[in-house]
């Protein structure tokens, strides 16, 4: 519509109300967060400095929590990819009717309450939960496995809770791949595995990266799941922020932790975006 003749419409002005809203209630609070993170005193006396940051960085525990948070997100994301990719693939191979059913199942976790789902997982993963009962009954282990309050549990539940974020973009990308490419590969003598690794997988990389970004950011910031399934012995960044802000009322430190956490997440997202740009550049120009 560039250059349309009408009494010069300023279409972008339609974005102004939301821009103003975001300036006031999104950018301003985040700005405030950054500002407060430079308060050196818990009482917020106005003395500015990087004290909170050095306090965070100088304690190995904090760094370990940051590392674990980022790692647990990575593990859950990988799990999502491992199980979500085949599901997305299946979605593109079945009839429209079945696809609707599968997408319905995929979407279900998005729209059912996270508290509800997490609660279900407690029932499933507990010492006397469904999984452990099954394991004991099958004689796979003499003792119930520690699934609840363990990183394994957190990873499993995060993967389930955030799986839709991985599967949906994958479906989109896989659907865009010309089915003739797979046919062509087979006609050229390649079997299913070669076709997958040489054709389908590389061509779905943009979807993998898009899904990874969404899943990963959701996993590392999933406060409810992390706390309920992880328990207090597994400390992750969101809980640390909550603890500092609410239990200990140390806002400057909580703010600094928040800033460090956000910057870390954004850096990882930026890396993934850069990766997808370079791939996309090669694939689609």
């Amino acid at each position: 519509m560039a250059g349309a003749l009408d009494p010069k419409p300023r279409d972008w002005a339609l974005a102004l109300p939301l821009t103003a809203f975001f300036a006031l209630f999104f950018i301003a609070p985040l700005g405030l967060l950054v500002a407060i993170s430079f308060e050196t005193e818990r009482q917020m006396t106005g003395t500015l400095g990087v004290g909170q940051y050095t306090a965070f960085l100088s304690d190995g525990l904090n760094l370990a929590v940051l590392r674990d948070t980022l790692l647990v997100g990575a593990k859950a994301t990988l799990l999502c990819l491992l199980f979500g990719y085949p599901l997305a693939w299946l979605c593109t191979k079945v009839s429209a009717r079945w696809q609707a059913v599968l997408i319905f199942l995929v979407v279900l976790p998005i729209v059912t309450s996270v508290v509800v789902r997490t609660f279900a997982w407690i029932v499933i993963l507990g010492r006397h939960g469904i999984v452990n009962e099954a394991i004991l009954a099958l004689g796979l282990s003499a003792q119930p496995l520690k699934l609840l309050f363990s990183e394994t549990g957190v990873v499993i539940v995060l993967a389930q809770v955030q799986m839709p974020l991985m599967v949906l973009p994958l479906i989109t990308t896989l659907q865009r791949i010309d089915p003739n490419l797979e046919s062509a590969s087979q006609a050229l003598g390649a079997g299913a595995w070669r076709t997958f690794f040489k054709v389908t997988l590389p061509l779905s990389l943009p979807g993998i990266i898009a899904g990874t970004i969404l899943t990963y950011t959701a996993c590392v910031t999933a406060f409810v799941t992390q706390s309920l399934i992880g328990g207090s012995r597994l400390l992750f960044m969101p809980m640390m922020i909550f603890q500092q802000a609410m239990d200990l009322q140390n806002w400057p430190f909580a703010a600094a932790v928040s800033v460090i956490f956000m910057v870390s997440v954004l850096l990882i997202v930026a890396m993934l975006v850069a990766l997808s740009r370079s791939r996309a550049a090669r694939l689609y120009g």
Partner: protein
């Protein structure tokens, strides 16, 4: 109609205050009340956040440590006994200048009698190898967790100024830990789900669980029972000060307190007009003097160090 907003703790407290205090208060004032379960620390955080504005609730319910903190931060108002007819009947040590103690909380060990055959008698029993992966404690966000740590520290020769011995001892408990929960309420759920078989617990909450049919028994430890006061306060700048007084006064009224002392609640009364009875008399104290024999801590000192201990605790219990 007028509406009062009062903080309460989770678990037993939310239930008992909803079932006994709220109707009493409603009947007495004709106003309604919203009771919002929050940890003491959460209450302070919310009040701090709202400082200078209308506070989000009118009545605070705090344990000793957080209460001192709140007083220091100017979050709660001085308590005017003139506005509280039942205040005078309190045992004097429960008559705080910033609000009455509404109960004593006492802690000990709760265990599942189905899986723990020999009843424990001391904290040391939690360290027994047979309880590997079956013990539950709570984090320092709750007074229960703090009191436990302070007590094992005390027994290991430490003081509020020197927590080294306590933390050292705590570290040796790690192999036995099944869970560290945020507060005693969450702790109860773990007993029920069979996630833990033995652990630190509040007396009256354990008894409530037992009454609900959860397989649980409470015992006091033989080294002295750690206990603290739980207090109620009029929040500084409360929107409904009159109602707030009526609410707090209701909580310390003999009627309410004697109701609350009954099973399944077993809330230790603070009014001198309510004699100890039932399980309270049986397991905790027959006379007010028995209460004095319990173990108390210096919460002012605790407050100075809580942040550092929390960090230390986080570090030590991390898997």
């Amino acid at each position: 109609a007028d509406e009062l907003v009062a903080a309460t703790f989770g678990g037993t407290w939310a239930n008992v205050q909803k079932q006994i205090l709220a109707p009493y208060f409603v009947k007495r004032t004709g106003a309604s009340v919203v009771q919002s379960p929050m940890l003491a620390t959460e209450q302070i955080a919310k009040l701090t956040a709202a400082k200078g504005n209308q506070p989000p609730f009118d009545v605070a319910m705090l344990d000793e440590g957080p209460a001192l903190e709140a007083i220091d931060a100017g979050l709660i108002a001085k308590y005017d006994p003139a506005k509280s007819p039942n205040f005078a009947a309190l045992n004097p040590k429960f008559q705080g200048a910033y609000g009455p103690a509404i109960t004593m909380q006492a802690i000990g060990i709760a265990y599942n009698p189905k899986t723990v055959k020999t009843p424990p008698t001391s904290w040391d029993d939690l360290w027994k190898p047979e309880y590997k992966g079956r013990v539950g404690i709570t984090s320092l966000a709750s007074t229960l967790g703090l009191a436990f740590l302070l007590d094992i520290n005390r027994l290991a020769g430490g003081t509020e100024a020197n927590m080294e011995p306590g933390f050292k001892k705590l570290k040796t408990l790690l192999p036995n830990l099944a869970a560290v929960s945020a507060n005693f309420g969450a702790h109860g759920a773990l007993f029920q789900q069979g996630e833990i078989d033995i652990g630190v617990q509040n007396f009256n909450f354990a008894e409530e669980l037992k009454a609900k049919g959860v397989p649980i028994e409470f015992v006091r430890v033989d080294t002295g029972t750690p206990a603290w006061k739980t207090t109620m306060h009029i929040v500084a700048g409360a929107l409904k000060p009159e109602l707030a007084y009526a609410y707090v006064d209701s909580q310390i009224s003999p009627d309410v307190q004697s109701e609350m002392q009954k099973s399944p609640w077993n809330v230790i009364p603070t009014s001198s007009k309510v004699p100890y009875a039932g399980l309270v008399a049986e397991k905790i104290a027959k006379t007010p003097a028995d209460l004095d024999k319990m173990v108390f801590f210096d919460w002012a000192k605790v407050n100075q160090n809580r942040a550092a201990w929390t960090q230390q605790f986080n570090r030590d219990i991390r898997v």
